[in-house]
């Protein structure tokens, strides 16, 4: 047998690693700034530095820039070693690296300026979305090409998790980003209302699953055994962990939408599958922790193992808490509160952040050929980071539970005990300061790590790994399994039969359906028993065969991940035309469309929800329960995910134009304790209604029933409605309306401004105008921009 020497491409690993460290600092620093803004509103220093603009930047930077670059470093390093092959193409690797960094720069250049699709963790506009798809496919091509070139036939479990990440993220990103462009910087989601909510949280939840979890589990399965110098506790358990997680995770998205206008069946599915996730998640967590058996003593001295052990423990805590929060009665208390923020940060800081730190401390000495500069500093990082996380999550748990309980508290004589939303906010403020301290401590620890890694790298020189591998001939490889052995094998057929039986059960009445499920399970169980007993000695099992075939393995992984998405999303797509045909709602007017875009641009959805749940305490505070009809023309939906401010689903008509104007000019004038930043800049920002027709045309393409005349006179209609609002403000509160499109010392409000537009939109929320959509008369001439009522 011949041998060959291979030099791994570790330059790309180093590049991704440093990018992760740098963007980690940036993302966490923005996190500290937004935490400060919540505790102390004057920290909203400028419109482009306000909470609504920076919060998406924080989440995107941490998820895609910090964790993204970290996972690529881990994937490139471990895949080459597990396959005994250099990455297939250095050019593709570098295209991936520079492409990804360019996307991050594009995010920094757009999000603070309000260029956003307003879908959480998918805010980037359509040209960047396309760039993400291209770069991701380049990564996928390089990855699968490398798998094809591998010299180790069997795929180690870490590689399975990477495969699941690559195929599932591709689907999630493409489907959730489907949008109709208006221009180069603006688009509307093809989905609306309930359907958009379902797609978005199918994406959002599985971005957590397949971007923040599965690749890091792959990293755990590779780096933890290496750091502990012992094999994974149970490889068999890892098989169950993998298939269980990939199949179940995708169904759990609707748990973000419990008690909303989403159909009950989808909510129930989301809750049940979330509870089922406990099993594979904890199987994986225990597998990670038990890998340390016999090596626990090393934790005293080895910071790498300290970080890994704590990281896996946080994974266990977060994956216990997630299903708990998915139970409907727990969600009723926790949803929209800071409890959710505490939960995600236990995962992001504890699991992702600590796994990243452990991997970096392990990698840098090996990538630069020198021991770590300071073990003491790494240990200090561990303790300050742990303390920071604990401070963060305990303050947010306390804040969340306090908030949830105060919202629902009813007074003895009836009515809400805390009718003013501000009362709850004031109660949380000390916790917001505590969170700021916790986050800052974590960031300080991370900066210490950056220094430590940099000092280690400077003391050494870049080293690329090398390995001597055996090159076997086709004869030595033995006969290849056929497609029949792999795809038409009994386990696949039995699984398909069982899944079909369960789907059929969905169409039967309760008792028959449950009996059918038991029958399906019995068929599956006895088939598996039969297969297991009939195993021929010396002949590889089916699973062993597919572990050696990356293409088939990828196909089956895709299938397992797709089932849940298809089962949940397809019914809503089928039902959408009927819902549109029967709705009593009317489309937004031209100015309301513009106002809605201002709402999206300013990131109002980061603090305000638009979804009133069916609870007495919600209807008493906000009005009637939200229905699917309310948001049927919302491209994208704006239900939100938290309430730092009150729900706005039925704010329309509740206050006067003057109230909204004064509130946005200076929120403290209306509520002394408000922490909302001022939006006074909107009053002077003129809108060009020439673009409105293009927006309405795009919305018509995705199903909003505008006719040609409405679109044609959209500029006139928008101006007429803006002029009415301006005239009201002038008459009611003496607001000085500008004669032109510029704010001067002599006036307070531009008529065709973002201010009048957003007021029009807010006044429309929860209201169906008795006379239909606001529209200018067909024969009216364009009014001069004087602010006078037409």
């Amino acid at each position: 047998m011949q041998t060959q020497r291979i030099e791994y491409d570790d330059r790309i690993v180093r590049a991704f690693l440093w990018a992760s460290v740098v963007f980690g600092i940036v993302g966490m620093l923005v996190g500290v700034i937004v935490a400060l803004q919540l505790a102390w509103w004057p920290a909203n220093a400028a419109p482009w530095l306000s909470f609504g603009r920076l919060r998406p930047l924080h989440t995107n930077a941490v998820i895609f820039a910090f964790v993204g670059n970290m996972l690529f470093a881990g994937v490139y390093y471990s895949t080459q070693r597990l396959t005994k092959a250099r990455m297939a193409s250095d050019k593709l690797s570098w295209f991936h690296f520079f492409g990804w960094q360019a996307i991050i720069v594009a995010a920094v250049a757009t999000l603070p300026f309000g260029i956003t699709q307003a879908k959480e963790y998918a805010e980037l506009e359509w040209p960047i979305d396309i760039a993400i798809a291209v770069v991701w496919l380049v990564f996928a091509t390089n990855y699968f090409w490398t798998l094809k070139n591998r010299r180790e036939k069997q795929l180690y479990v870490a590689l399975w998790f990477y495969i699941a990440t690559i195929v599932t993220v591709t689907i999630l990103h493409v489907v959730n980003s489907l949008a109709i462009p208006v221009n180069g910087l603006k688009s509307y989601s093809v989905f609306a209302g309930v359907q958009d909510a379902l797609v978005q949280w199918w994406y959002g939840h599985n971005a957590v699953a397949f971007f923040l979890t599965t690749p890091i589990l792959g990293i755990m399965y590779y780096f933890l055994p290496k750091a502990a110098d012992r094999p994974v506790f149970s490889y068999r358990l890892s098989i169950i962990h993998f298939w269980g997680l990939v199949f179940i995770y995708i169904w759990a998205g609707p748990h973000h939408l419990l008690y909303t206008a989403l159909p009950d069946w989808a909510q129930t599915l989301g809750m049940i599958f979330s509870l089922m996730l406990w099993a594979p998640s904890w199987g994986g967590m225990l597998n990670g922790l038990l890998t340390l058996r016999g090596a626990w003593d090393k934790l005293r001295t080895d910071p790498v193992l300290k970080f890994f052990a704590a990281g896996v423990t946080f994974y266990g805590m977060a994956t216990f808490e997630g299903p708990l929060l998915s139970i409907k009665s727990v969600s009723a208390l926790a949803h929209y509160t800071d409890w959710i923020i505490g939960h995600v940060h236990a995962g992001a800081l504890g699991w992702n952040g600590f796994m990243a730190a452990g991997m970096f401390y392990w990698l840098v000495p090996r990538l630069y050929g020198k021991p770590l500069k300071s073990v003491a500093a790494a240990n200090f990082h561990f303790w300050i980071g742990t303390f920071g996380i604990l401070l963060y999550v305990t303050s947010m748990w306390t804040a969340g539970i306090t908030q949830g309980l105060m919202w629902r508290e009813m007074a003895d004589g009836g009515g809400l005990a805390y009718p003013n939303f501000i009362q709850t906010l004031v109660a949380l403020r000390p916790m917001y300061w505590m969170r700021l301290v916790g986050g800052t401590l974590y960031l300080v620890g991370f900066i210490i790590m950056a220094w430590n890694l940099f000092a280690t790298a400077r003391s050494g020189a870049p080293v690329n790994g090398e390995v001597e591998v055996a090159v076997d001939t086709p004869a030595e490889r033995g006969p290849k399994p056929t497609i029949k052995d792999l795809v038409l094998a009994p386990p696949v057929i039995v699984s398909a039969v069982v899944v079909l039986m369960i789907i059929a059960a969905g169409y039967l009445e309760v008792v028959a359906s449950l009996t059918f499920v038991v029958l399906a399970f019995a068929v599956g169980f006895f088939a598996m028993l039969l297969l297991s007993v009939s195993k021929q000695p010396g002949k590889p099992t089916w699973h062993a065969l597919i572990e050696g075939r990356s293409g088939v393995f990828t196909g089956l992984t895709l299938l397992a991940a797709l089932v849940g998405g298809v089962a949940e999303i397809v019914p809503s797509v089928i039902a959408a035309p009927e819902a549109l045909a029967s709705t009593a709602n009317v489309p937004y007017s031209a100015l309301e469309v513009e106002g809605r875009d201002v709402y999206i641009r300013e990131g109002c959805y980061t603090c305000h929800s638009q979804m009133i749940r069916p609870f007495t305490w919600e209807t008493a505070r906000y009005g009637a329960v939200s229905t699917p009809d309310d948001s049927i023309y919302d491209h994208p939906f704006q239900w939100g995910s938290r309430r730092i401010g009150p729900d706005l689903a039925r704010v329309g008509g509740k206050y006067s134009h003057t109230w909204h104007y004064r509130h946005m000019m200076n929120p403290r004038e209306i509520s002394a304790e408000s922490n909302m930043p001022p939006f006074d800049h909107l009053a002077g920002e003129a809108l060009d209604f020439a673009d409105t027709a293009a927006k309405m045309r795009a919305l018509r393409t995705v199903g909003v029933p505008y006719n040609a005349e409405q679109i044609q006179r959209s500029d006139r209609s928008a101006h007429a409605q803006a002029a009415e609002i301006a005239a009201f403000l002038a008459a009611d509160s003496g607001v000085r309306v500008c004669p032109g499109n510029e704010l001067t010392d002599a006036c307070d409000l531009v008529v065709d401004s973002r201010m009048t537009a957003v007021i029009a939109y807010l006044q429309r929320l929860g209201q169906i105008p008795a006379n239909g959509m606001y529209d200018a008369p067909a024969t009216e001439t364009v009014a001069a921009n004087t602010g006078a009522t037409p």
Binding site: V157, K226, A378, S532
Partner: protein, 68 residues
């Protein structure tokens, strides 16, 4: 109540079934090939003999372990 009984029954069947399936599979050596795979990450001959633990600390650890 009828549904609750059925749900509990199905739950018990699933749990027992899953445990049995795991035991039978393990007993029949269905996943015996994984013994070698579990060692793959450790089979990395070019890994340099470098440590994150400072040498003096490592000596202390060794001493401490010997005492135990």
């Amino acid at each position: 109540m009828e549904v609750m009984t059925l749900l509990l029954f199905i739950g018990v069947v699933f749990v027992i079934g899953a445990a049995l399936a795991f035991v039978v599979n393990a007993a029949n050596g269905t996943f015996d090939h994984t013994e070698r795979l579990a060692l793959l990450p450790l089979d990395d001959p070019q890994d340099p003999p470098r440590h994150n633990v400072a040498p003096e600390q490592e000596q202390k650890n060794a001493d401490s372990t010997n005492r135990v």
